[in-house]
Subunit: 331 residues, 2 copies
Amino acid sequence: MHEEKIALVDGQVKAVQKAVAARAVENVYFVACGGSLATLYPGKYILERETAAVSTGAYTAAEFLNDPPARLGEKSLVVLNSQSGGTPETAAAARLAAGRGALTAAFTTTPGSALEQAADHIVYYFDDPAAPYPAVLTIFPEVYKLTYALLDVWNGTGRLPEVNAAMLRLQDTFDEACAAYRPAARAFGAKYAGEPILYSIAAGLDACVGYVLTNCLVMESLWKHSSPLHAGEFFHGAFEAVDDTAAVFALLGLGKTRALEERAVKFLQRKTGKLTVLDAAALDLEAYPGWLRAPVSALVLNRLAALYCDEMSYAMGHPISSRRYMGVEKY
Amino acid sequence: MHEEKIALVDGQVKAVQKAVAARAVENVYFVACGGSLATLYPGKYILERETAAVSTGAYTAAEFLNDPPARLGEKSLVVLNSQSGGTPETAAAARLAAGRGALTAAFTTTPGSALEQAADHIVYYFDDPAAPYPAVLTIFPEVYKLTYALLDVWNGTGRLPEVNAAMLRLQDTFDEACAAYRPAARAFGAKYAGEPILYSIAAGLDACVGYVLTNCLVMESLWKHSSPLHAGEFFHGAFEAVDDTAAVFALLGLGKTRALEERAVKFLQRKTGKLTVLDAAALDLEAYPGWLRAPVSALVLNRLAALYCDEMSYAMGHPISSRRYMGVEKY
């Protein structure tokens, strides 16, 4: 059953790839809201670093809709994402983009949604907290697939099969990492359950993991205060606010910006007794090709950050699904 | 004496304009750190919306340096900014860009700095907290000048003289606004001096004002916790953390994203008793051409946010120049 879904998704990614290959695309805009924007960010980050064929941009949907870039047009690919497919500003952004002649491709879990109706191409992903799908069918890995599918077009490479194979291995890697880190996650939850503030800090591709951690987990799900600090920006202002009054969750990835993250961690080790560090260098990523380990490490860090916050929710007696405004009232 | 400096700056802006006109520039990268990056942001935001001639990007310098965009090259204009001119990663980014054949232009206050030595073109700005220069000589207005100078090249417009004239009026507008808002600023300082957390929230061009407020004022200068919330992103996660435990400073600008900011303000009015709103609609901007009022309003909001934080620093007995790490120790 999962095989069918994987084949469906791979076919949908190929369809976008084919449409892009048939067009003169000059710019790629990633448009969504909150966690759905953060999970598109690898597309922007990786394309921007790995191909000179296109320019890229990432926008929260309402801003894109109200004040779109001047280059939005027939030479644009607009990639959108909404879990429900019903996020009004994301669906409206898809309609705006289509109206300007752009090629549109949308990720969603929901067939027949407003977003699907507005987009030229759709890529389904799968999300059921009660009975989780294997990682390969979730949003981040699917965004990686699309990203490398596009790079294959623009760079004349042929890496998509290797990426697809890697994404199939991801669930095992997640399971092993979660088993290994669960005791640490539990200790984290117990130690910081009462903290009112928990910053995240990261750099480069890992910044989207920090954003998910801050925005979706700490703020949305645990109702704690946070900010997605950027390790490169940190020393130019924000660090002055940090001392023992704030807990900090730091990510150390394997990408070219690891040095920035390490600098922040070294400083934080001296300045707060409430530092948690997740270091991807400790992960077993031998199963992945060397060139793909940095991007894969970001996904494992993301999985582990969710584990840590799950454990915190248990320690707090505050279910991770708790919402007081979202879906509860009008705003 | 100020006339000479203004003429110097205008000549430096013209020199960049001339160099750009003589080249096939296809992308513009804005590169700096912290507040110096935020003050370049209008360049990115406005160019991206007002010309299809170039693509744009904004990067914290260390990330740009460690993992630069693939398009960085002879068709790039790289605009940098460092007050001291000595920020190591910004100067190194200028050298990287020059090495790739890009045209480089740097803002700084400091003649002869490492940044000046690395950049093709320099634009001086002036900053002396003890004896402030008129607004026209400070960084934000100068970035506006360069932005519209570039647009004149790429769009065939001729708006720079109007912008230069507007920037000359800015100090009077600031003075009037500060006089009018000082009582409110003082009340703000007194009311929230003891708050440990003060979020900013804004959208569109105003997001850079929110970033300066959070990063440079609240965190760096007042040592309070904060995050630069984006009004468009707010409803997709972060808002769940907000209640009476957090003070929020909201900006309402005059741009196309005002509706996003208004939506956030309406929600916050119901959810926290600690909301401060600065609404640009209440400002007298009659002296400015209609098309320039939204960008000008962001500068006035920025000036007023600084006034509010000055008043808070007095109420806290914590000088706005207080630093415990920056320039105090190695990191």
